[in-house]
């Protein structure tokens, strides 16, 4: 069940009403929410429910054992086994085919036939998200930051439908306490409704438009398009993946908010970033901090010298790349990001080591052109990454990049609406912080009937400008 559908609107309306009616009875509420979330998930494929339930039971059993362990070594060992188990599940469903195919191609170079059979495995929707959330639960218990929750609470946490299939990646210790404080709340509806309508607009209108107007066609067959079209398709994809993914998680955060849950932000105007490090503090923020807390820091972070820091950055981004999809193009994307992050760090350290004249006590003022240059470089590194991220093979990616310079000619796909939408998507990110909040505040002070009218109007605009079908969502099977 996708968010921008009539089905989901009906589902959510029913769940929202029932949820607040049941709130005075916490156990019933939890059972209801678990059931609703399972219904939501089963709408994709009922077989996946077994997996979700299995992951829940496994992590809860292990969590209880970890909490009961009497010494640190045993606790650490148990955490390791649990994480290994979760990763094994993820690896089996998501990476087995990729692994075997890559291995076969490698061995074939040495004339050896590959030993593993290629099996047909269906990839369950959202598996990358709920296994990561489960890992946050057991690791935090192992670190003593969290007590095991009740079985029902954990089941609701891992299945909670707003964030189940595409994030944000909510940590157990953010979510579980909120189960106890739901009653008697008032809701930040200005923000919730604002996120939902903005999310729908971004996803249904902007992302689908860019996908069908230029991006899909060019990436499907770059050799048929000119340099101009390829360049705009790359910028277009940058705008598309942002509007698509941030739109979807905005809807998730807004729906959770109406149900009485506060989720962490997931995007904060990422294309305004002036360094790649800054970009990762603004892009898919819940994944960034997951990778930081459960991968980069356990690897040693930046605490063991320069070489280890660069290695850790690289490893984190390579694995982060692979998390997005089982293909070498995602590894290349991760390598580019890891490499550039390390380079940025190196240059920054060198710059700070130089005894540059500085005004004491004040942050150095950068002239505007340096900031602009940084922004341009960062944005284009990110765009270069997107070429590999979107391309279905290295062939496509290299054709795109070569033709950027070698294919002059007319560019009929580059139209005024396409350019306007791309520029607007990026320009909006430079609005002063708080612009969105100000609009939400205005909205929230309208009388209730006015709010309903405004929302209905937004639905009409979105529906009228959106395509008859919605382009497939990019992040589901990651």
């Amino acid at each position: 069940m996708l968010f921008p559908t009539v089905q989901y609107a009906i589902f959510f309306a029913i769940v929202l009403v029932a949820s607040w009616l049941l709130t005075p009875q916490p156990v019933r509420w939890k059972l209801f929410m678990l059931g609703a979330s399972y219904v939501f998930y089963a709408a994709w494929d009922p077989r996946f429910l077994l997996l979700l339930a299995g992951v829940t039971v496994f992590n809860q059993v292990m969590a209880l054992r970890i909490a009961a362990a009497d010494d640190d070594d045993r606790r650490r060992a148990l955490v390791r086994w649990t994480v290994a188990g979760d990763l094994a599940v993820l690896g089996w469903f998501k990476y087995y085919g990729f692994f075997v195919a890559s291995m076969a191609n490698l061995l074939a170079r040495f004339g050896v036939s590959q030993p593993f059979p290629l099996l047909e495995i269906v990839l369950p929707v959202g598996i990358s998200f709920f296994t990561f959330q489960a890992i946050s639960y057991v690791v935090d218990i192992g670190r003593g930051k969290l007590e095991p929750a009740s079985h029902l609470d954990v089941a609701v946490f891992l299945a909670f439908f707003p964030q189940l299939v595409a994030g944000p990646i909510v940590r157990a210790r953010e979510f579980l306490p909120q189960l106890a404080t739901r009653a008697g709340q008032v809701l930040d509806t200005g923000r919730a409704f604002g996120l939902i309508t903005a999310g729908l607009f971004k996803k249904v209108v902007v992302a689908s438009f860019l996908a069908s107007a230029i991006v899909d066609e060019v990436f499907a067959n770059p050799s048929a398009y000119s340099s101009g079209e390829i360049l705009v398709a790359v910028y277009g994809y940058a705008a598309q993946i942002y509007t698509d993914f941030s739109g979807y998680t905005d809807i998730a955060i807004g729906c959770a908010m109406l149900l009485g849950f506060t989720f962490p932000d997931n995007f904060n105007r990422p294309y305004a970033a002036t360094t790649l490090r800054d970009f990762w503090r603004r892009w898919h923020m819940t994944l960034s901090r997951w990778l930081r807390d459960y991968l980069y820091i356990p690897l040693g972070g930046s605490a063991h010298g320069r070489a280890r820091t660069y290695r850790n950055l690289m490893l984190t981004m390579l694995l982060g790349g692979l998390w997005h999809g089982a293909a070498w193009t995602f590894v290349a994307w991760g390598a580019l990001h890891g490499g550039w992050l390390a380079l940025e760090r190196y240059l920054e350290e060198r710059r700070q080591a130089r005894p540059a004249p500085r005004r004491p006590g004040l942050a150095p003022l950068e002239p505007w052109w340096i900031e602009t240059r940084r922004w341009l470089v960062t944005f284009h590194v990110v765009c270069l990454g997107w070429v590999f991220f979107r391309a279905e093979s290295f062939d496509v990616a290299t054709t795109m990049l070569t033709r950027l310079a070698t294919a002059p000619g007319p560019a009929p796909l580059v139209t005024v609406p396409v350019l306007a939408v791309i520029v607007a998507t990026i320009a909006v990110q430079f609005l002063p912080e708080g612009t969105g909040e100000a609009i939400q505040a205005q909205f929230s002070r309208l009388p209730l009937a006015g709010q309903a009218l405004a929302l209905a109007g937004a639905l009409v605009v979105i529906d009228a400008l959106g395509p008859p079908g919605v382009a497939p969502f990019i992040y589901f099977q990651f």
Binding site: A220, W280, A438, L453, A456, D463
Partner: protein, 377 residues
């Protein structure tokens, strides 16, 4: 990723009077009851204002009780929109602003039909179901005679001698079908490059097929396109969306015996339209699907295509079940056109990846085309 710094203080938002923090003064917060009231009122009002597109979405659902319920519910909503004039905003927006966005959007609409009513941005679910995720159909254990080896079908004896394409007058190829056809266009143009002067135009029309001419009328569209572009060759691949009931004078259920008969008639009509100006047709059969039930249904359709193409003087059927399979079974990864093991199918277990498209083109289609138009080269 943000490395050593503190995470943005994102999680700690005010939680209202029950929480520890204060409500920011600028935003007014609502009680759950008020929030529910606003949402429900907005959805109901929005439904009335979007009635035309809701109706179009309901109409497009596969025939069945869900569709009947949806259509029945939407009917009065549409009437209400009409009476109150609330539907006009939507129509006005589509006319006024929609034109700005829409021309670029591939809009599956039958030629001559107004497109404005199809503004069903609200329901992509039909796209998913239309991709063939529907419930079981007759899992006919049919003879897989359609799948033996290379291309077959009636040779184009009465087609007359074929012309020799030149750089000035290249072979005009139209690749037409549903989303399954998507990777074939690019693969075909690169496969023919340097071997035969050809111009390949690909047209995947998403969520279409022969079962629902009320949604997209392929024979009519084919007639118009062929009349205008006059291709030498049409490569067709579709069927993924057609495992559903059809409507003739009345609804013909997928499991009824007459369904296949009716469907065969539609395949014939489609072929007639495609070949009306003298084009030849290569009809690409459906590959093995991952889901067994769906595969059974697709195999039945495939039989119909094979028989239809075989009986048609200008069409040739190209089976793919053996090529895109491992020992007859579904295969995500296979040895590709270059000898390496490549991913051939997408995660949905239905569509081909570009590598899958390349394999299909290199192993079957390119050869079939070169045999016909470049017998010496």
């Amino acid at each position: 990723m943000s490395t050593d710094t503190e995470p943005r203080a994102a999680a700690a938002r005010p939680r209202g009077p029950s929480g520890e923090e204060e409500t920011p003064p600028t935003r007014r917060w609502l009680s759950p009851a008020q929030a529910v009231a606003v949402l429900l009122a907005a959805l109901l009002l929005g439904a009335v204002m979007n009635a035309s597109s809701l109706a179009a979405t309901a109409e497009r659902q596969p025939f069945g009780w869900q569709r009947s319920v949806a259509v029945a519910v939407v009917g009065p909503v549409e009437a209400l929109a009409e009476v109150t004039g609330l539907g006009r905003v939507h129509a006005w927006l589509v006319e006024g602003l929609g034109g700005w966005f829409r021309p670029a959007i591939r809009e599956p609409a039958a030629p001559g039909e107004p497109t404005g009513t199809q503004a069903a941005g609200g329901d992509p679910a039909e796209a998913a179901t239309a991709e063939g995720e529907q419930d079981a159909t007759a899992e006919g254990e049919q003879d897989a005679t359609a799948n033996d080896g290379a291309t077959r079908g009636s040779e184009t004896d009465d087609a007359g001698p074929r012309r020799s394409p030149t750089e000035e007058d290249p072979l005009a190829v139209w690749v037409a079908g549903d989303s399954l056809v998507e990777p074939l266009g690019a693969a075909l143009s690169s496969a023919l490059e340097g071997r035969l002067p050809a111009e390949v135009a690909a047209e995947p029309q998403y969520s279409t097929g022969l079962a629902r001419p009320d949604y997209f009328d392929w024979p009519a569209h084919a007639g118009a396109t062929v009349g205008e572009d006059d291709p030498d060759l049409v490569v067709v691949m579709l069927g993924g969306n057609d495992d559903q009931d059809m409507r003739g004078d009345e609804v013909i259920h997928r499991r009824d015996d007459e369904w296949l008969e009716e469907y065969r008639g539609r395949v014939d009509d489609f072929l007639d339209a495609l070949t009306a100006q003298g084009a030849e047709v290569l009809w690409v059969g459906l590959p093995v699907m991952q889901d067994a039930t769906f595969d059974g249904a697709m195999r039945e359709l495939d039989e119909v295509y094979a028989a239809g193409a075989e009986d048609h003087p200008r069409a040739t059927y190209v089976p793919t079940r053996d090529l895109l399979a491992d020992d007859g079974g579904y295969a995500t990864y296979l040895e590709g056109a270059d000898g390496g093991v490549e991913r051939m199918r997408r995660d949905d277990g239905i569509h081909l990846t570009p590598d899958g498209g390349r394999l299909l083109v290199e192993a079957l289609l390119a050869q079939a085309i070169l045999e016909r138009w470049a017998p010496d080269g």
